[in-house]
């Protein structure tokens, strides 16, 4: 049987390939199958060298008739599907990023294909994936059965692995019908320099112990020297101190950073559901009985209003 090609949905930010997407290549390499990066309405030419340096030999430059700088999830879905069919792709990998959460299920739904989101591990030979369920209390191994398979991989789970190859660019102009039943009227983009929580390498979060929204400035001060994103617990959001988009946890964003610094967060099961896979957890809490202290890597029992200003100072000196 001829093994079909593997597609990697590659996202760009500010004209550059997102680092976490290069991990997709590391997850797919070594199968003896050709890797096809799929970039859509993105600067594929600029991405060529970094993709070639990570073992990706083919770059599909998908161009849609949408106005530059705009997007439409239904159009992008159709265009990716057409690019997959045109290039013999039967396995698609993407990151469970905000965009991946939007596109990967649409693609799988159209194909009636199996999809596992937020994979912590994948085995492309065995067609299986590991993902967490029940608020991170259970790890499930799921077999993907079907002619086409889609995998959404949790951000930062698979580190990029350099491997130099030659890459060619395949221009793919999608000229299908743009339907009128779903129209994006407006996209209000966030600051492109601001760290996206779900993909951040470092996150500093605040909870009940922050006492009010003003005090989150202490966290932003530390975050700016660290290049970190700022998160929050549900309590901080429910009290109206910070917007819901900053909530980490079961009913918020699920994150997977290298370091998670939890300030004044007790560490409920629901909060852990969103951050328990962090490589390192550091907790700052004044309550010696806080649950988080027994489920972290480092903790300090103390007043965060004294520690955070010192930390901001030490970080700005160190970086």
């Amino acid at each position: 049987m001829i093994m079909a090609n593997i597609g990697l949905f590659i996202e760009c930010r500010g004209g550059r390939v997102k680092e976490t997407c290069l991990g997709l290549a590391a997850a797919a390499i070594g199968q003896g199958r050709e890797l096809f990066a799929i970039l859509i309405d993105a600067p594929a030419g600029d991405a060529r060298s970094v993709l070639a340096a990570h073992g990706i030999g083919h770059i599909i430059n998908v161009v849609t008739p949408l106005h530059p700088g705009t997007w439409n999830p239904a159009v992008w879905t159709d265009a990716v599907l057409a690019a997959m069919a045109d290039n013999g792709i039967d396995t698609l990998l993407g990151i469970t990023s905000p965009l991946g959460r939007e596109l990967l299920p649409r693609i799988a739904a159209r194909l009636d294909a199996p999809l596992v989101m937020d994979c912590m591990q994948i085995d492309l030979e065995d067609h299986s994936a590991k993902t967490s369920q029940y608020s991170g209390k259970v790890m499930a191994t799921i077999a993907l059965e079907g002619r086409v398979r889609v995998y959404g991989i949790r951000s930062n789970v698979i580190p990029p692995r350099p491997q130099q190859v030659e890459a060619r660019i395949i221009d793919f102009q999608w000229d299908g019908e743009v339907k009128s039943d779903l129209v994006v009227l407006e996209s209000r983009r966030g600051d492109p320099n601001e760290q996206n929580l779900s993909e951040a390498d470092v996150i500093i979060s605040g909870g009940r112990g922050m006492k009010d929204g003003e005090n989150f400035k202490l966290l932003f001060d530390c975050a700016s020297s660290l290049g970190a994103a700022v998160g929050a617990s549900r309590v901080a959001v429910d009290n109206g101190w910070v917007p819901y988009a900053m909530q980490v946890g079961q009913t918020g964003v699920k994150v997977n950073p290298k370091v998670y610094i939890a300030c004044g967060i007790s560490g409920s099961v629901q909060h852990f559901a969103g951050m328990k896979t962090s490589r390192m957890i550091i907790a700052i809490n004044s309550d010696e009985n806080a649950a988080i202290l027994s489920n972290c890597d480092y903790f300090t029992i103390g007043d965060l209003f004294e520690i955070l200003p010192e930390l901001a100072k030490a970080l700005s000196e160190a970086s």
Binding site: Y134, L144, A318
Partner: protein, 255 residues
């Protein structure tokens, strides 16, 4: 306006989950309505109030015990409910087909609402598949929803600060995020009233679903292992800060 709201019957997020025989969880725990679905019901009830003459129907695929969860949805204001009874767990592909078939058999929806994900299997996809099966457009992570004339205008939050405003023609589907509203918790009379409302039961097998082209087969479940060994950092605030920086530099290597 006829609004269908998809409801999932899930274990309480605080429940202790025990794995049995490596392939299922012990179901002898408290079950309730999936938290995101509470927001979907609340939004449906709000829409019905704004557009009088409509109906809110809660639809669920689950075990017979999910009747209780549908009663909660009706106590929150759904008018009636449909329960597709299945003795075994289904993957998202089958679940979406079943929900679509039950909705199709029940009536003509103007709007289908759901939560953006469930807190048990966390698959993040059933609503997209449902919309595909019904042949309607869908928006996900909806935090604002307005219906006027023949269309719905929704705000979808992608990540902090990034919002798309999308217009869909009716009928359409919307999977809501937590930011959309504050769930309306039922009063005691609401709960009593919900006891008398209708739950139409359909056996999953009776829907004679078309067989899917793909499948997600659960092969194994294992408890997640916690292996962290907490170490204390002590000293004055300045000393603690210095030690944290050292850890970030030498061990985490992020500085």
């Amino acid at each position: 306006m006829k609004i269908y709201v998809c409801i999932k019957h899930v274990p309480d997020s605080g429940a202790t989950i025990t794995v049995e025989a490596g392939c299922r969880i012990n179901e002898n725990v408290t079950y309730l309505i999936n938290p995101y679905d509470e927001h979907a019901v609340t939004e449906a009830v709000k829409l019905k109030a704004a557009h009088p003459g409509g109906e809110v129907v809660a639809v669920c695929l689950g075990p017979a015990a999910a009747d209780e969860t549908l009663r909660s949805a009706m106590a929150m204001g759904a008018d009636r409910a449909v329960l597709i009874v299945s003795g075994h767990a289904c993957d998202s592909i089958v679940a979406a087909r079943a929900l679509a078939a039950a909705i199709d058999a029940d009536g003509r929806p103007d709007l289908i609402l759901a939560g953006r994900e469930s807190i048990d299997s966390e698959g993040m996809q059933t609503h997209f598949r449902l919309a595909e099966n019904l042949g309607v457009p869908i928006a996900s992570n909806v935090v604002k929803l307005d219906v006027t004339g023949g269309s719905a205008v929704v705000a979808c939050e992608r990540e902090a600060g990034t919002v798309d405003v999308i217009r869909m023609t009716l009928p359409c589907a919307a999977a809501v995020g937590k930011g959309i509203n504050t769930p309306r918790y039922p009063t005691f009379p609401d709960i009593v009233k919900a006891r008398k409302k209708e739950v139409k039961k359909i056996a999953l097998d009776a829907l004679s679903l078309e067989s899917p082209r793909g499948k997600m087969r659960l092969r194994h479940l294992a408890p997640a292992v916690e292996e962290r060994q907490p170490k204390e950092i002590s000293g004055s605030a300045a000393e603690v800060a210095r030690q944290i920086v050292e850890i970030l530099k030498n061990e985490a290597k992020i500085i």
